[in-house]
């Protein structure tokens, strides 16, 4: 368990410092704490797998390599116009905002699911960061 948390913290440490998006001036981005990637994996398997998988596009896009990737850019997946045009890059901060309320972050996008609990979001993001 500790190794997962350390791995997640290491991976996200660099990502949190990634440049943020120029088109969202004034937004206060929240950096989530280092999460528990092992718990995040369990959360992923219970909450996300209805639509997503690690390596295949399903109702939602595949998640391998999502952290660090530009939003709406995974080849072969049909994104909403709004997400594809967002110019966001997925960092721990942008993923935290996305999971908390996708529609607030990118109006018109298609994901109706949100993760209300901050610890759950941190754990999920830590898990996603391991998908290299």
């Amino acid at each position: 368990m500790k190794l997962w948390r350390l791995a997640g913290a290491w991976l996200l440490g660099g990502l949190a410092a990634a440049p943020l998006q120029a088109q969202t001036p004034g937004r206060v981005w929240v950096t989530p704490p280092a999460g528990d990637a092992a718990r995040g994996k369990l959360l992923y398997e219970s909450r996300c797998v209805a639509c997503h998988s690690v390596d295949e596009h399903r109702t939602g896009p595949a998640h391998r390599g999502v952290v660090g990737r530009r939003a709406g850019s995974a080849a072969g997946y049909g994104y909403s116009r709004e997400l594809a045009a967002s110019r966001l890059r997925w960092t721990s901060q942008t993923l935290n905002a996305w999971l908390a309320d996708p529609e607030e972050l990118i109006p018109g996008q298609r994901m109706g699911f949100q993760v209300d609990d901050a610890t759950d979001r941190a754990d999920l993001i830590s898990w996603l960061a391991t998908l290299r």
Binding site: R47, A50, E56, T59, E103, R110, G112, F113
Partner: protein
């Protein structure tokens, strides 16, 4: 056991008239289309994601039933559950159309097979495990979108769909010999 084929022809055929389930879900819900356009568009988007899940569930059960790995009476149960998902599909499509939206289409069976790694299914347990994972995901997805709907009637529909998926998950879990959830409120959390 006859497995109902989810052919494109029969699929298209269901869109022309409402199934009994769709009629029941939509009965007295003429106000559905009277919301603001922004709310309606958002709701249609969520419903289309749900419809995508139902397309996948129908095809997952098709893959399981067609695999030759399921034995009676499990095969009968799987076909029954597939029928539930077809009714869900019909209801969602009817609702989307009622709201003025365009229902998302079904992919080819081979596409679902690839996405679900159907080639890795080697036993009845493998098939049931896949079905249980999909049903659990669907439960949590439906519960998760309930507060997002702008329309309370649609939120209720999502709750009813989640209840069906919970029934499926419980039966599949039992068939796999797995224990019941240890604690209360294990779904949607």
């Amino acid at each position: 056991m006859q497995v109902i084929q989810a052919s494109r022809r029969s699929f298209i055929g269901t869109t022309g008239s409402l199934s009994a389930v769709a009629v029941a879900l939509l009965a007295g819900k003429d106000a559905l289309a009277q919301g603001s356009s922004a709310d309606t568009s958002r709701d249609v988007g969520i419903l289309n994601v749900a419809l995508g899940l139902e397309h996948e569930a129908i095809n997952a059960y098709q893959l399981g039933a067609g695999s030759g790995l399921l034995q009676k009476p499990v095969l009968d149960v799987a076909v029954s559950f597939q029928g539930h998902h077809k009714a869900h599909r019909d209801a969602l499509m009817a609702t989307i159309q009622k709201l003025g939206g365009i229902p998302v289409g079904e992919k080819k069976l081979d596409d679902y097979a690839k996405a679900l790694k159907a080639d890795t299914l080697k036993s009845q347990t493998d098939v049931l495990d896949l079905a249980a994972r999909l049903e659990l995901g669907a439960i949590n997805a439906y519960l998760g979108v309930i507060p997002v709907f702008g329309n309370k009637d649609l939120a209720k529909v999502a709750g009813r769909l989640a209840a069906d998926e919970t029934l499926h998950y419980t039966v599949l879990t039992n068939a796999l010999g797995r224990p019941l959830p240890a604690g209360a409120l294990s779904f949607g959390a």
